[in-house]
């Protein structure tokens, strides 16, 4: 699946987009975040305050308990500040 990062999540993670294949057992957004944080200090830092990070699956907002099964594109970003 494709992961996207925006704003300061992107800056801290040091990457804008990547293709990943999370292991079996990573079933929800929350679990994906835990797995991402273990990948290195940049990701640990980007997701340090996981509770403030928003997620979207296939371009729709989701909560952290949402299933990632079948997702093609998952995005992580801070609370939005447009308008």
């Amino acid at each position: 699946m494709r992961l996207l990062y925006f704003a300061w999540v992107k800056e801290k993670a040091g990457v804008a987009a990547e293709e990943i294949q999370p292991p079996e057992g990573v079933a929800t957004v929350a679990e994906l975040i835990v797995w991402l944080k273990a990948r290195g200090p940049e990701f640990a830092n980007a997701f340090a305050r996981a509770e403030v990070i928003r997620a979207a699956i296939d371009r729709s907002h989701v909560r952290h308990d949402a299933s990632i099964a079948g997702a093609r594109e998952i995005a992580f970003f801070p609370p939005v500040t447009g308008g």
Binding site: L4, F6, A7, W8, A56, R59, S60, H61, A75, F77, P78, P79, V80, T81, G82, G83
Partner: protein, 152 residues
């Protein structure tokens, strides 16, 4: 109609296009958001967005407004990229036969846009770049559109 674009927009031309030659519209409410310099603290601003989701989200928000109010036309235009103090950021316009529907729908569109549309502002000022933090009041503003209280 929704549009996400880098280039500026002309408020008068947008309103004229919304009205076209219609003679059944009684009220048009517009909201124009512009870049504030905040007393010199902001020299430039960059608006990042999630291309694709932005359009989807704005369309969903617009549909929701049409489901709630009898609107004859509506428009959301939002810019991204590099902006300077005084520049246009966003234009929301709603047309209806009566003013309350137009006012409420425009306010609703802005409240939803502020908490749902995937845009992020980075301010570049004398103190360096800074990502704007979301205003907790924006989340609170959303609650005024809960179905129960909207039925008042």
């Amino acid at each position: 109609m929704i549009r996400v674009q880098q280039e500026d927009f002309d408020v008068g031309a947008e309103i004229a296009r919304l009205r076209a030659d219609r003679t059944d519209i009684g009220a048009i409410v517009t909201f124009l958001g512009t870049v504030r310099d905040q007393g010199g603290a902001v020299a430039e601003m960059t608006l990042e967005h999630y291309s694709g989701m932005t359009e989807d989200e704005l369309s969903r928000i617009e549909e929701e407004a049409h489901a709630r109010w009898p609107l004859q036309a509506s428009l959301i235009v939002h810019r991204y990229g590099s902006l300077r103090p005084g520049d246009n950021i966003v234009l929301v316009a709603t047309a209806s036969e009566h003013r309350d529907a137009a006012f409420d729908a425009a306010k609703f569109l802005m409240d939803y846009l502020k908490t749902r549309a995937p845009f992020w502002k980075r301010e570049d000022g004398p103190g360096g770049p800074r990502w704007i933090e979301a205003d907790a009041r924006d989340e609170t503003s959303m609650t005024r559109w809960d179905k129960s209280s909207a039925a008042e």
